[in-house]
Symmetry: C2
Subunit: 164 residues, 2 copies
């Protein structure tokens, strides 16, 4: 079972590497080891991540890259749609794999800022099937803001205490 899922992971990594190569070739960008190492790490360990965690993770893997290279490469990965970028209100950007990553929406708690994934095939289809005049859609992000159960509970409790 574990073995099968690892084989699948390897296959995905292989595939995205191919896609990346195509993109680099098509645009006459160089195929540097740094770029592939970053892509590999993202498709091995990191489902959701920010730049800092990625930077640390690269170091731990003994493949040191500069932050400049990280940002440069991320730009390329965004352009060829192998990575998605999110900003949930704070000033920190989050990224996630875009390929073979079960597509999901995001629930953001306006109280504790926690982010959860939210899968809903119905919404997904509804949004993806929209024909929009004068616009060719590539991908989308749906962020739903509200209260997570923990915060809802907490706020309710506090209300009780505050009663006169």
């Amino acid at each position: 079972m574990l073995k099968i899922s690892m084989e699948k992971e390897n296959k995905v990594r292989e595939l995205v590497r191919q896609k990346f190569t195509e993109y680099l070739t098509a645009n006459k960008f160089r195929k540097t080891p740094e770029r592939y190492a970053i892509l590999d790490l993202i498709y091995t360990d990191q489902r959701h991540f920010d730049m800092d965690t990625l930077y640390e993770a690269m170091n731990e893997r003994n493949f040191r890259v500069s932050r400049a290279t990280l940002y440069n490469t991320m730009q390329l990965l965004l352009e060829c749609h192998l990575v998605l970028k999110h900003q949930f209100g704070q000033n920190l950007s989050f990224y996630e794999r875009a390929y073979n990553n079960d597509f999901h929406h995001h629930l953001i708690c306006s109280h504790c800022n926690k982010v959860q994934e939210y899968k809903d095939a119905e919404l997904k289809t509804a949004i993806q099937n929209k024909k929009i005049k004068g616009f060719i859609p590539e991908h989308y992000s749906l962020y739903i803001y509200g209260l997570c159960s923990a915060c809802a509970r907490e706020l309710k409790k506090n209300k009780k205490f505050n009663k006169p």
Copy 2:
């Protein structure tokens, strides 16, 4: 006709002022002239704006406020849902009125970064009617990324030129 819409605008301004007052009172925050001036300007001139334009606009209106106050007030307006915040990939935050502002989604061109509003009642209902287990939704943002017509045309043209 113009008169009627101006009367409507005044009414909305009146209403949001009331809502803001309720919020400030409920939380024992002070009702400073700066706070109301900022709210007023937003509900007069500014449908979509970033902090810098708002800052300039306040100055032009001869109501000078510091950037610190602007950020502080915006925080309050976000909390009481009179203003919405958006981040479309760049590091600049955009804001818009949340009250009596025909609700819309956003189309973002991944090529020129232009943002257009996109109204779709069907999607709106579909998203708003979702019951989500363990989460109480307050509001949501849907961002659709892709190519605007101008960029689609331009890219097509360039492709032709590049043919061998």
